[in-house]
C-alpha cells in the first residue's frame, strides 16, 4: 500500500551502532517522490549503512524507517519488491553468464516472460554488453560487472533506487547513459538515493545533497542552501564539503607528506 501524500523515504531518529562504533547517529531524513538525493561523506561516515537500513538489510537500533508508505521493519518483502539496489561492491554469481544472471533477477521479481526478454535485450544493447552476455561473469571486468548490477536494479522498474557508488568502474558512455536514465526516471516518480565520492556528479545530478560525517547528518539541501550553511557563496561542492566536514586542512597535510 503506497500513500503518495507521504515522502518516498522517511527516516525518523534512526541510529545504528556496531559494538563501540556509531555508524548512524539519530538522523532524520525525508526524501520526496521523484527526487534524486545524493549522500556524501568521508569513508566510514554511515552512507552505506543508511542505504542498507532503508532497504531493511540492516535493522536500526532505534527509530523508524518508512519506505513508500511501508514500514521497512514490518513488511520488508513489500519494500524490497519496490526497490532496486546496487551495493558498493556487488558480488554477483560468477558461475552464471550475464544473461543467465539477468534472467534469474527477472524471475526473482516475477517479471512476465516477454517483458523480461524485451527489457534485458534493451539494457544489454544500451550498455554495450551484447556479444559478451553468454560468457560467465567470472570473466567480466569490474565495469562490466557493475553494468550487470545496475541492469539488475533497473530491470523490474522499481519506484525507489538505492545506489551505492553506482558509477564505479563505468566507462564514460555507460556512465552518461546511467545518469541520463536517472534523470528521465524522475518525472515518472522514481526516487533515487545515491551515495558517491565524486562531488561533480552529485552537484550535477542531485536535487538535494545530504552530507554525513561520523554518522551524523551535517547538512541537507540544494546547492544554494548548502552554500548558505557553509557561508561560502559562489563556491563549489568540494569547498562546501571540506568546510562542513572540517577536513579543509588539505594544504598542511600535503606539505607534511612532501617533507
Amino acid at each position: 500500500m503506497i500513500s503518495t501524500g507521504e515522502p518516498a523515504v522517511k527516516l525518523s531518529r534512526v541510529a545504528k551502532r556496531y559494538a563501540d562504533i556509531t555508524a548512524v547517529d539519530y538522523i532524520d531524513l525525508d526524501v520526496k517522490h521523484g527526487e534524486i538525493l545524493g549522500l556524501l561523506g568521508p569513508n566510514g561516515s554511515g552512507k552505506s549503512t543508511t542505504l542498507k537500513m532503508i532497504l531493511g538489510l540492516v535493522k536500526p537500533d532505534s527509530g523508524s524507517v518508512n519506505v513508500l508508505g511501508i514500514n521497512a521493519e514490518e513488511d520488508p518483502v513489500a519494500v524490497k519488491k519496490q526497490v532496486g539496489y546496487v551495493p558498493e561492491s556487488p558480488r554477483l554469481y560468477e558461475f552464471l553468464t550475464g544473461l543467465e544472471y539477468l534472467d534469474f533477477i527477472g524471475d526473482i521479481y516475477g517479471i512476465e516472460v516477454s517483458e523480461k526478454k524485451k527489457r534485458i535485450e534493451e539494457y544489454l544493447e544500451a550498455l554495450e554488453l551484447e556479444g559478451r552476455e553468454g560468457d560467465m561473469i567470472s570473466s567480466y571486468s569490474q565495469g562490466m560487472k557493475q553494468k550487470i548490477a545496475l541492469i539488475s536494479a533497473f530491470l523490474h522498474k522499481p519506484k525507489l533506487l538505492l545506489l551505492d557508488e553506482p558509477l564505479n568502474g563505468l566507462d564514460p558512455r555507460s556512465a552518461r547513459i546511467v545518469k541520463d536514465l536517472l534523470r528521465e526516471l524522475k518525472p515518472q516518480g522514481v526516487t533515487t538515493i545515491m551515495s558517491t565520492h565524486i562531488l561533480e556528479i552529485a552537484q550535477a545530478m542531485c536535487d538535494r545533497i545530504a552530507i554525513m560525517y561520523e554518522g551524523r547528518l551535517l547538512a541537507l539541501g540544494n546547492m544554494k542552501e548548502l552554500r548558505q550553511k557553509a557561508r561560502l557563496p559562489g563556491s563549489d561542492l568540494e569547498d562546501i564539503f571540506l568546510k562542513l566536514t572540517g577536513t579543509e586542512d588539505i594544504r598542511e597535510v600535503v606539505e607534511a607528506l612532501l617533507k
Binding site: E100, D103, D107, M136, S139
Partner: protein, 559 residues
C-alpha cells in the same frame, strides 16, 4: 633470494586462516595459543610415542622379540620418506582442490618487488602448513626419541632429513600440478567452446573419483604393517623413479653402502632443485595466466518457461533452483557433493569385486544392496542441506535485498536437496539391483526407506544449514560452521538409526542377523510403516524449524 620476503609471504598465508577460523574481524587479536595448538599437540604426542616405544624396547627381555622390534623400526624408518611423500601429496593436493574455483586472497603480489623464486618457495612451504607440518613434527620427534633407545641416532637424523625433503618434494609437485592444471583448463575451455562447462564437470568428477579411490584403496585396503612392508619392498623395485630416491638413501645407509648413500643423496637433491626450478619457470610463465571466458550460450535469448513451474514452484523459487543447479555443476568446490555418493558405492563394490586383493565373495549380500541404496542418497541429503545456504557466499546480499520470503526460501532449497538426493538414490539403486539382485520385497522396502531417510535428513540438515550458514569464501569456502556441521551430522546419524530401527528389528526377527534368543517375527511392511511414521514426524518437525530459522535469517540480514 630474499629470505625475509619468503617468510613474509608465508606469514600472509598463515594469517589467511583467520578468515577460516571465523574470528571477529574488527579489532582483531590473534589467539597464539590456538594458532600453534596443533603443533604443540604434535610435539607432545611425538615425544610420548617415542618414549613409549623406546621404553617398551628397553623393557623387553626376550632377545628374539627385541630383534624383531629393532628390525621393524628400521623397516619403518626405511618406508617413512615414501609414506611422508604420499601423505603430503594427498594433503597438499586436497588443500589446492578446496581452493580451486575460489578467487584466492593470496594472488601473487606481482606488482611488489618479489621474485618468482621467492613466491614459489613461499607457496611451496605454505602448502605444508597445518596437518602435514604437524604430522612431520610428530614423526620427527617420535623417531628422534626412539632412536636414543635403539642407539640409531645417525640413522634417525638422516630419516628426519629425508622426511622433510619428501614433504618439500610433494609440495613442489603439487605446486607444479596447480600451475599446469590452470593452464590445461584454459586450453580445454578454448578448444571445447560451449561444452567447456560439462567437460569441466565430468573432468573434475573423474579426477576426484580416481583420487579418492586410490587414496581409500591405499589407506584402507591393507594393514599398517603390510603397508610399511609393501612400501619398503616397492621402493627397491622401482629404484630408478626419482620420487623413491630419498628412501633409497636410507636403504643404502642401513646397508653400509656409503658411496650409494652419497650418490642417492646428491641425486635426490638435484631432483628436488630441478622440480623447484620447473615450478619457478612455470609460475613465471603462467602464474598470472587468466582463464579464458567460458561462453555458455550464443545466439538469440529465449527465456525458459519452466518445467518447475508446472510442479507448483513460483518463478522466484524456480529461478533459485535453476541457479543452484548451475552452481553445483559449475563451481568445482561444490562438485564434491556428487563425488561422495560415487565413492560410497565404489568402496563396497571394489571390496566385493576383490579389487583390494581380498577374495571375491561367492554371493552378493543383502547388506551390500542396503548400503548402496540407503547411504549415498542420505549422505547427499545431509551434505547438501548443510551447505545449501552457505554456498551463496558473498552473493547472499541478493537474497537479503530481493523479495524472497522464508517460506519460498525453505521450499526451493529443500526441494533442490531432495531432488538431487533422489537422483543419486535412483542411480545407486539401479547399480545395486544389477549387482546384488535383491528380491522385489527387499528392493521396494529399501527404496521406500531411502526416500524416507532423504526426506527427514534433508529437513534436519537444511534447518542446520540455515542456522549455521557461514559465508566466508577465502581462502576456501566454509559454507557451514564446523561445530554446527559436526553436531547436526551426529544428530542425523541418530535420527537415521531411529528411522531405520523398525527394519533392523525386522532383519533380526527374520534371522538375517544372529540373535541368541528367537524373537516373534515382524512383518516387513509393518516395519516400513512404523519407519514411515517416525520419518514423517521428524520431517514435519524439522521443516518447521527450518522455516523459523529462515525467518530469523532473513530478518537479521546483516552483512
Amino acid at each position: 633470494m630474499n629470505w625475509k620476503n619468503v617468510l613474509r609471504l608465508i606469514s600472509v598465508d598463515i594469517k589467511a586462516g583467520r578468515l577460516i577460523r571465523g574470528q571477529r574481524l574488527r579489532r582483531y587479536r590473534e589467539q597464539k595459543i590456538f594458532q600453534y595448538l596443533e603443533y604443540g599437540g604434535a610435539c607432545i604426542l611425538g615425544l610420548a610415542i617415542g618414549i613409549g616405544a623406546g621404553s617398551f624396547y628397553a623393557a623387553v627381555a626376550d632377545p628374539q622379540l627385541k630383534t624383531l622390534f629393532y628390525q621393524g623400526a628400521r623397516s619403518l624408518f626405511l618406508s617413512l620418506p615414501s609414506l611422508a611423500l604420499i601423505f603430503s601429496l594427498v594433503f597438499t593436493m586436497m588443500g589446492q582442490i578446496q581452493r580451486m574455483g575460489v578467487r584466492s586472497s593470496l594472488q601473487p603480489p606481482y606488482w611488489l618487488p618479489i621474485t618468482w623464486e621467492e613466491h614459489t618457495l613461499a607457496s611451496t612451504l605454505a602448502n605444508l602448513i597445518g596437518v602435514p607440518l604437524a604430522f612431520l613434527i610428530l614423526l620427527s620427534l617420535a623417531i628422534a626419541t626412539v632412536s636414543i633407545y635403539l642407539g640409531q641416532m645417525p640413522l634417525a637424523a638422516l630419516t628426519i632429513f629425508a622426511l622433510m625433503a619428501s614433504a618439500f618434494l610433494a609440495s613442489t609437485t603439487t605446486e607444479i600440478f596447480r600451475i599446469l592444471q590452470v593452464r590445461l583448463i584454459g586450453a580445454v575451455y578454448k578448444s571445447t567452446g560451449k561444452a567447456a562447462v560439462w567437460v569441466r564437470f565430468v573432468g573434475s568428477m573423474l579426477f576426484f573419483v580416481v583420487f579418492y579411490v586410490v587414496w581409500f584403496a591405499f589407506s584402507s585396503g591393507m594393514g599398517s604393517v603390510a603397508l610399511i612392508e609393501a612400501v619398503a619392498g616397492a621402493q627397491k623395485a622401482v629404484w630408478f623413479v626419482p620420487y623413491v630416491w630419498l628412501g633409497m638413501v636410507l636403504a643404502a645407509f642401513m646397508s653400509g653402502l656409503l658411496a650409494h648413500t652419497v650418490i642417492f643423496s646428491l641425486a635426490s637433491l638435484l631432483f628436488i632443485l630441478t622440480l623447484f626450478y620447473v615450478a619457478v619457470r612455470l609460475n613465471a610463465r603462467f602464474g598470472l595466466y587468466e582463464l579464458p571466458a567460458i561462453t555458455v550460450s550464443r545466439g538469440v535469448y529465449v527465456p525458459k518457461v519452466g518445467f518447475l513451474g508446472k510442479l507448483g514452484f513460483s518463478s522466484l523459487e524456480s529461478a533459485v533452483m535453476r541457479k543452484d543447479f548451475r552452481a553445483f555443476t559449475r563451481r568445482r568446490e561444490l562438485m564434491y557433493v556428487f563425488i561422495m555418493p560415487v565413492v560410497f558405492i565404489l568402496m563396497p563394490l571394489m571390496q566385493y569385486l576383490g579389487i583390494y586383493g581380498r577374495p571375491v565373495e561367492p554371493e552378493p549380500s543383502r547388506f551390500l544392496f542396503a548400503w548402496i541404496l540407503l547411504v549415498p542418497g542420505a549422505i547427499m541429503a545431509v551434505m547438501l542441506g548443510l551447505m545449501i545456504i552457505g554456498e551463496e557466499g558473498g552473493s547472499v546480499w541478493l537474497f537479503f535485498s530481493s523479495p524472497i520470503t522464508a517460506r519460498s526460501l525453505v521450499k526451493c532449497k529443500y526441494a533442490f536437496v531432495i531432488i538431487l538426493s533422489f537422483v543419486a538414490m535412483l542411480v545407486c539403486g539401479a547399480i545395486g539391483i544389477l549387482v546384488a539382485h535383491p528380491s522385489p520385497d527387499i528392493a521396494i522396502a529399501l527404496l521406500i526407506e531411502s526416500i524416507l531417510l532423504i526426506l527427514a535428513l534433508g529437513a534436519v540438515s537444511l534447518g542446520a544449514g540455515i542456522k549455521g550458514a557461514d559465508f566466508t569464501e577465502a581462502p576456501r569456502p566454509r559454507m557451514v560452521r564446523p561445530l554446527t556441521a559436526f553436531v547436526y551430522t551426529l544428530l542425523c546419524l541418530v535420527l537415521a538409526l531411529a528411522i531405520f530401527s523398525p527394519l533392523l528389528l525386522h532383519a533380526v526377527t527374520m534371522g538375517y542377523m544372529p540373535v541368541p534368543v528367537p524373537l516373534p517375527k515382524i512383518d516387513l511392511y509393518v516395519a516400513v510403516s512404523i519407519s514411515a511414521v517416525v520419518a514423517l514426524v521428524i520431517t514435519f518437525v524439522f521443516y518447521r524449524i527450518a522455516l523459523k530459522n529462515a525467518e530469523e535469517f532473513l530478518l537479521k540480514a546483516e552483512m
